[in-house]
Point group: C2
Chain length 469, copies 2
Amino acid sequence: MNLYALILAGGSGTRLWPLSREEMPKQFLAVCGGEYTLLQQTVRRMSKLTSIDRLRIIASGRWRPLITHQLSCLGIDADCVIEEPEARNTAPAIALGAASLINGGADDGDIVLVCPSDHIIADETKFGEAVKYASESAAAGNIVTFGIKPASPETGFGYIKTSGTGGGWLTVDSFAEKPDRDTAEGYIESGGYYWNGGIFCFSVGSIVRAYEDHFPVCARIFGSEPGDMEKWFLASPIESIDYAVMEKARNITCVPLDAGWSDVGSWDAVYENSPLDERRNAAVGNVSLHGGGNSLVVGGERLICGIGLESMIVVDTPDALFVAPRGASQKLRDVVGELARSHRDEVAEAPVSARPWGTYRVLSKGERHKIKRIAVSPGCRLSLQYHMHRSEHWVVVKGTAKVAIYDRGNDETAEERLVHEGESVFVPKGHLHRLDNPGRIPLEIIEVQIGEYVGEDDIVRVKDDYRRN
Amino acid sequence: MNLYALILAGGSGTRLWPLSREEMPKQFLAVCGGEYTLLQQTVRRMSKLTSIDRLRIIASGRWRPLITHQLSCLGIDADCVIEEPEARNTAPAIALGAASLINGGADDGDIVLVCPSDHIIADETKFGEAVKYASESAAAGNIVTFGIKPASPETGFGYIKTSGTGGGWLTVDSFAEKPDRDTAEGYIESGGYYWNGGIFCFSVGSIVRAYEDHFPVCARIFGSEPGDMEKWFLASPIESIDYAVMEKARNITCVPLDAGWSDVGSWDAVYENSPLDERRNAAVGNVSLHGGGNSLVVGGERLICGIGLESMIVVDTPDALFVAPRGASQKLRDVVGELARSHRDEVAEAPVSARPWGTYRVLSKGERHKIKRIAVSPGCRLSLQYHMHRSEHWVVVKGTAKVAIYDRGNDETAEERLVHEGESVFVPKGHLHRLDNPGRIPLEIIEVQIGEYVGEDDIVRVKDDYRRN
């Protein structure tokens, strides 16, 4: 009996704006003073329970570069990404994941642990124990949901009503949608209610049966040829696993989890889950606080000086700053929506953009110029490309670049050369070119773009092979 | 009878940090939503009372480039700067200014109006009237001090005790040092007390006599050869005009001034003197405020998003951010002092640095690289220089550069060439070089410095002639 882990990393969102962006969702961020991103924390948590080769991450293909990059930072080179063709909520995603495991050789008796990629679990020992009980219950044919011990009458979560004397796991009587305040308070008083944290455990055999019984359209994914899985995935209704399976199946059990769980769904939640200093401040980055307390200050290189800040939230990024009193951060969603409707770059674009070949950061933008700092991973290269409206100057700050520049409109005759630290090269407008890191360390270059138009969309990609072999 | 204006621009200070820096004192900043800097406002105010050729600005030589730059923005090319060899408070500075006027042809009967460069006066009509009365009183042989009608029992200013029935001017009974709170409240109740705003008016003849009677050491400046003025200036005690002359002379009068005066000595003062929106917020820059009110938000290009900010101060600059509740900004002086003691660049260096040839801004700093955006004024050039530890790449973003690069250690044989928009040039480490703007529009270049050390002090200047003729 093997334990597999399915990590759901499809989520997008800007509830932690300006740190999180459409281009950089929460799961890819390090918050609460942790050195690892929420995804990395989740992967590390799972890797203590099972081996990496039994771990899968389900996400849109657009996140593959980011995920690959963040896994490689953990020393994990295995490709564990299962691409969902589009976001159709958790039911089809989990089915796709389970089906992939089956095609990969998983047996009916093997156990699957499903969890989100953007939550915090402080106490890994307790989580491990809970997983042990959940595996036993799953092996006994149950579909297990983890019940988070409610810390407060939270109205932002669904609730699980349980009964039974407890022990390893409880019987689930029913699931309740997000309640209003009074209802939630009633739940807390009456006891036996838990938050639904979206963590599940089941055997391969029983989840397949559950889909066949309760979500048959989607169940066609199971046993289908790998080539057909996408078709059946796209044919499936958009639905959450809770509604599609959990609320309908009879064999649902609940394993209570009291391990410092948080969905880190707001800056207030980030504060509550951050290490605090003696003034109960949580400060990250180049921060200098004087007086006051109970505040969250998240910055980077820029000096942030606060005087007498009391219960404030300050989040500073290279292109956007957010300031609010604690407790107001729920309003952030609407405000960011407003900014998005007025097409503010700061909502969509991340200051640091991840690409299959590495990352880049815009240092300065002007009407006729743009300056980027580009980092190319060892053995990677940018697509073979040219630009209609701009020429590019590359100055190598670190490492060695292999640069090919072709005569205009002719991709046969390339002038190819190595450019070392401190050297530079000029790419004329309209000329095919390619940037390549043949070395063993990351290549860092400063790119100065000049032209009548310097938008990201002025790029014609001729070849997209990002890795030499 | 001519009216001369002496503007004291020697002041330094960081009370408006991070907008003001050691390199960029308050008088050179535009605050309170004004389009002109405080110095420019002062010059414009004075130019309505007298002609530009009768206006002088007394400041340290280090500010000459900035002053010249800010005057040229007003279309003023006259060189009105009188350099004080070092800061020795207002008494020697004013003596130096008056002596320069005398050497320039001012007569005993001519009137001199002295005022700081970093204050606000909202109502220029009322100020003009006050100056009219002051000139009359000065012509009658009095030394006139302007008394600011006190708006509150301020403990940060000195007070002037007056008597007499008023009218054009009052008799001055005495000057009082900065009082404690109770004393200040006493002054307000008893009436007849005014703030000492550091604005004075006198005839050339009477100020010379006053110095001879009460501050004789410094009086030697008057009538001395231009070459000796510096010697006598440096020989003078460090003293304020208030203590050296005003508190001792008998012929002091006071002209009340009720014209929306402020010394803009703190961010709170900036808020109080800024135009407010319907929520009583004062916002400058790319600011998006939601809820709350009564706040001051000063930013630039970066998006600043505030939710529910109530009576807060947020000041955002490219390299430093300041956040505090209103009322706490007096503590800023100590905090900045603390930062200065820990040698933070953000206290001394301004994000945009002014040089005799133009300005530069650091876009990005790294261990082995620094990126600057450099603007060279038409007809200006940088010093002939070389660097021990870095090479430089220049990319012309706008305009045309004339670049001379010499063989290492040999300043005879220069490779000189024109570099046009979109072109670039490489300056090898250790090679003498010079950057020159021969054109009619400002030259803008991106400079990428690379080397084992990229500090500002790695520069050997061989020639310092900043302007070609």
